[in-house]
Amino acid sequence: MSDLNKLTIVQAYEGLKKKEFSSVELTKACLKQIKKRNQDLNAFISVFEEEALEEAKEADKKIKAGKQEMLTGIPFCVKDAICTKDRLSTAAAKILDNYIPSFDATVIAKIREQGAVLIGKNNCDAFGHGASNENSMYGPVKNPHDLTCVAGGSSGGTAAAVADHMCIFGIGEDTGGSIRQPASLCGIVGLRPSYGRNSRYGSMPMASSMDTVGPLTKTVEDAAIVEEIIAGHDVLDATTVNEKVAKFSKSLSKLSKKLRIGVPKEYFELEGTEEETKNIIESKIAELKKNKNIEIVEISLPMTKYAIPVYYIVVPSEDSSNLGRIDGIRYGVRKEAGNLYDTYAKTRAQGFPEEVKRRIMIGTYALSAGYYDAYYRKAQKVRTLIIQDFDKVFAEVDLIVTPTSPFSAFKIGEKKDDVLAMYLADVFVCPANVAGLPAISVPAGKTKAGLPVGLHIIGPRLGEEKVFQLAQLVIPTAPGAGRDPF
């Protein structure tokens, strides 16, 4: 069988079960694709060829012994800002250029317990700061659809790797759109779960009150499968909720009642939204309208225009605090200087890229004496109003639909020096983070230039099941459809 790397999780699981191929063969197919394409895409910081083949052999034994689980023997990749035991985890910053964690993040441990094969660690914006993957200290990731364009960010390497079939699925991290936006720009599925649904333990913290870990996959069904495995309460993350996790993959086509879907008018009136993106999303909504189980209503979320300014106070503030521990003292790369202060200042100056330093400084300023009330506290109050906005709307509708990104993949370098323009790339995705809501991006079409456009579905808190159900309606998995996510 050729092109094993193009399989979805479901297809790979079936093939392994029927012994049509082995995990070693599947892993080799992915490694071959990485060898062929990674020099162009720069999607990986580390590739664990030897270790992956060892893990694949173990998986084959497990399958042979009749102990196959859903992810046994399936190659996956992980954003480099998530800790993986005994595997380099740099967060795409030189300050952690040599950092090898002694533990797996909880979600990674859950996946590896099933015998999945960790094939490599993905390039990303350093510490998750960015929407274009240009803030990596290991060079930008290129978009598989057009090598002159960005892959999105911050989980850009993971999105590019999944879209280009270098692995079967990936795990990323989303604080303000970092899973959904690159998924949209690369033409795959990306889920940000509700805050508290998945453990954040071992995901290098950015903004502790908004960070989430989630899957990037080729189909909605695959995303549902991974999510139901990695979700759940974790004693190592006190913010995880102790709620039962539904079998999302089993209820994908089981809509219990008619879905009322809200389309926020503000999102379509926004200046700077690409015409083609708007047209693709509007025609997708018109298509959904024809389904007798769906009712489309116009809604208003007047406070969401404040989500980006709230985000750019809360996130840098929590960032500046969290990154205080990254100082080259106990681990990482230390730059020695005459005294302790200079050692800190030099280590951090040389180990962090420009955007990380920018955020640390915004946060330090916003939290400093005399400014806390004016910035952080004010933002946290507006955050309450944004949540109330969503609560009001979700009393009327089941789900909300928007574009994922205001534009398809842009040229590398195009927005790099315009800090504000780059921040606005997350205008549709970041309100979900501010409010802690689950949201998914699914491919909705392509521009004339052949660049993917994603549709964004936001659900109420812990409402992943319905989010998946609508997503499945948007891109039902027709036979063979999973083989080509584009």
Binding site: Y312, G324, K381, T384, L385
Partner: protein, 100 residues
């Protein structure tokens, strides 16, 4: 809100970041733009609004205050990742003769 180079120097000191002269100017300009943008929050009336610190609704999540012994393997890995060491000890610059 226009930040001066002097203010940037103060922030950078608090944040433990060494900046070059061109960087100071660049960040002064960029942070000013971001702070101007953030100013739009002042349009929102937040009187009487309680701030949101977390969204889960969870309260007082506690565990027993008990140290857990790490395995020798973990200990050795942690020591191996020290940037500088003496035997099993982490080596750092003196804390109290620091001028700042």
């Amino acid at each position: 809100m226009k930040l001066s180079v002097k203010e940037i120097e103060k922030i950078a000191t608090l944040a433990r970041l060494e900046l070059s002269e061109p960087e100071k100017q660049m960040y002064a300009d960029q942070l000013s733009v971001v702070l101007d943008y953030i100013e739009m929050l002042n349009d929102v009336d937040t009187s009487g609004v309680i701030e949101t610190c977390q969204v889960t609704g969870l309260e007082d999540v506690v565990r027993e205050d008990k140290a857990q012994e790490a395995s020798e393997e973990i200990k050795n890995k942690l020591i191996a990742s020290f940037p500088e060491k003496m035997g099993k000890l982490l080596k750092v610059k003196a804390v109290f003769d620091d001028q700042t």
